[in-house]
Amino acid sequence: MYKFYVDGEWRHDENQPHVSGNYGVVNCVYIAVPQPDMVPNTISPETSGNMEVDDVVMRPEGFAQYSEADLQLSRDRISSFLSTHTVYELLPDSGKVTALDVNLAVKQAFHVLYEQGLPMVPLWDDFKGRFVGVLSALDFILILRELGTNGSNLTEEELETHTISAWKVGKLQLNLKRQMDGNGRPCPRPLVQAGPYDSLKEVALKILQNKVATVPIIHSTGPAGSCQEILYLASLSDILKCICRHFKHSSSSLPILQQPVSSIQLGTWVPRIGEANGRPFAMLRPTASLGSALALLVQADVSSIPIVDDNDSLLDIYSRSDITALAKDKAYAQIHLDEMNIHQALQLGQDANPSLGFNGQRCQMCLRSDPLHKVMERLANPGVRRLVIVEAGSKRVEGIISLSDVFRFLLGV
């Protein structure tokens, strides 16, 4: 599909085939694609996108168009599926949850996260008798930045006695965007949690609206729900896995899944030259300092930054959760954030776990021509929260698709 930008205005050509879609009226090009296997009763007349041929050779942008009806049908079906299935289905047969007492020292908390390989943990308050929050990689990033700045209240020795609860109180003073109440006063954010009988749709919306990655699943019993039992830490990737599992063998019921991600404009894309309203896309070179990476993670409010070479080819990716690698050999105590560069920081993580190479789980990629269902299946792997869209061959970074992008698209929010 395409549109013309004429003298500062987006217009379509009336004389050429055109169709209404999400972007107003757009022109479209129909390309006949060979269909070797006509599967009976599964192809609706409207979608002539190919399901069998998965060809990643460079192709012109004009794929067969998708209709609003396809999109709405797919959305309705997914919404209906998510509304009728509960969180209980996400629970593994035998799962493990690690929690920290809120009076544990920050330094020890850091080490537990590192040793157990956890990106985040729920926090338990003995005095209140309930779960009160979570400790995540972002907390550590903020703590490390606090250590680094002059005139901060936090020293390294204090990390040993500074409790998580004290940190959380101090964090309010940092005036992060999300924690303001109506009067502009910092207020503690209540724990975003869900119960095992909540529908998957409720949980997905909760995650999207609160902009969290993981939601503790807590079963409350007793008078006024006073007795809390933690069951699981649910994330969008669990829900996505459930969706993929269910619809994998009836892909015709969700026609929008066959569309390439470039045609549905999913994710955040590197703005093309001349695009006026493109958001700056955060990328860094491996020689950039760790301090700048952490600053970017906080300010741009993103969870990961692709690390690229001089040609913008993807080398690796630095995510918030990589911060726990600094606990190795207490690297955080010895380094100055501006003296260590990203490459070294990633090396720390690599040494801890050599199996996670670039081509392994660390850096999942996709092409702009990949259909949505392929992207979804990749994202449904636990531990994969984003895919980097790269150019075939050169691996030049073109964009990022995250779990929340996919869910916003599927739920139409």
């Binding site: 047969d93 035998s94 493990k96 949850v97 007492d101 079963h219 619809f247 994998k248 792997n381």
Partner: protein, 280 residues
């Protein structure tokens, strides 16, 4: 000790038998009939709690050969990997598809291979069955009975937009516990003897503590932490270790204690570890 044994038997056998009736998808360990189109090797299963001999072991049967199907080289009991999965779907789980509503010739088609092939079911008495090895997932299928398309009314089914009805197979990777067999289990009465609540004296502390039952060593808490992005799934805990509190001192730091316990929630098991500070 008597408690422990009874509990294990009580939970295992009824759950096995009732699974077969309620779900219609039977999972049998170690019995693999490789299907020429699908099958990947089932994993070395960590399901230690399930005795593989819950059912009369079936003699593996060669599925009916169709002209386009490739020859199955061997039917050994060892894992075979026939066929290549382009997507690495995951391991195959044996499941049985049954038609028990009369007919002379029954075949089945399903969404597991996009409705491409039709497999004839084998007759055994009044029922027609076929064993398939499929990765975990949700599939649709229907039966061709004497030339007519039918669905089994007693099995879960769904209807598509055109009004066609298909049966649904939701194949899980594990057999969920049968809730009734667990929740109706009555703990035995305490043995007859005298009970009091006198404080323990120094004399009591001087004695050797009673031995910890060896079953309690089998806790999931000792499974080493995995650094992989995708940690391998935990095995199902033995019922005997449930609701016991374990403590680990000093491993994560000088004044840090880890408390762990495994509980059951409906048919799922959750192991929770809480790290606390010992300082006050």
């Amino acid at each position: 000790m008597g408690n422990v044994n009874a509990r294990e038997d009580g939970s295992n056998s009824p759950s096995g038998v009732e699974e077969g009736e309620s779900n219609n998808s039977v999972q049998e360990e170690g019995i693999i009939v490789p299907d020429g189109l699908m099958g990947q090797s089932p994993p070395h299963s960590p399901r230690a709690t399930h005795s593989p001999l819950m059912f009369t072991p079936q003699v593996p049967v060669v599925p009916l050969q169709r002209p386009d199907e490739m020859q199955i080289p061997n039917l050994s009991w060892m894992q075979t990997s026939s066929g290549y999965e382009d997507m690495g779907d995951g391991v195959g789980i044996p499941t049985m598809i049954t038609w028990s509503h009369d007919g002379c010739e029954v075949a089945v088609e399903g969404s597991w291979d996009n409705w491409k092939t039709r497999i004839a079911l084998q007759r055994s008495g009044k029922d027609f069955t076929i064993m398939k090895v499929l990765p975990s997932g949700v599939y649709q299928y229907r039966f061709l009975v004497d030339g007519l398309w039918k669905y089994a009314p007693d099995l879960p089914s769904t209807q598509d937009d055109d009004g066609n009805v298909y049966n649904i197979l939701d194949l899980q990777e594990y057999v969920p516990d049968d809730l009734e067999s667990i929740s109706s289990f009555e703990p035995p009465q305490s043995p007859e003897t005298s009970y009091n609540n006198l404080q323990l004296t120094a004399e009591d502390f001087a004695k050797e503590p009673p031995l910890v039952p060896p079953h309690l060593q089998m806790t999931l808490l000792n499974v080493p932490a995995s650094y992989m992005e995708i940690p391998p799934p935990l095995s199902r805990p033995q019922h005997v270790v449930l609701n016991h509190l374990y403590m680990q001192k000093g491993k994560s730091g000088p004044s840090v204690v880890a408390l762990g316990s495994t509980h059951r929630f409906l048919a799922k098991y959750v192991t929770v570890v809480l790290y606390k500070s010992m300082q006050r």
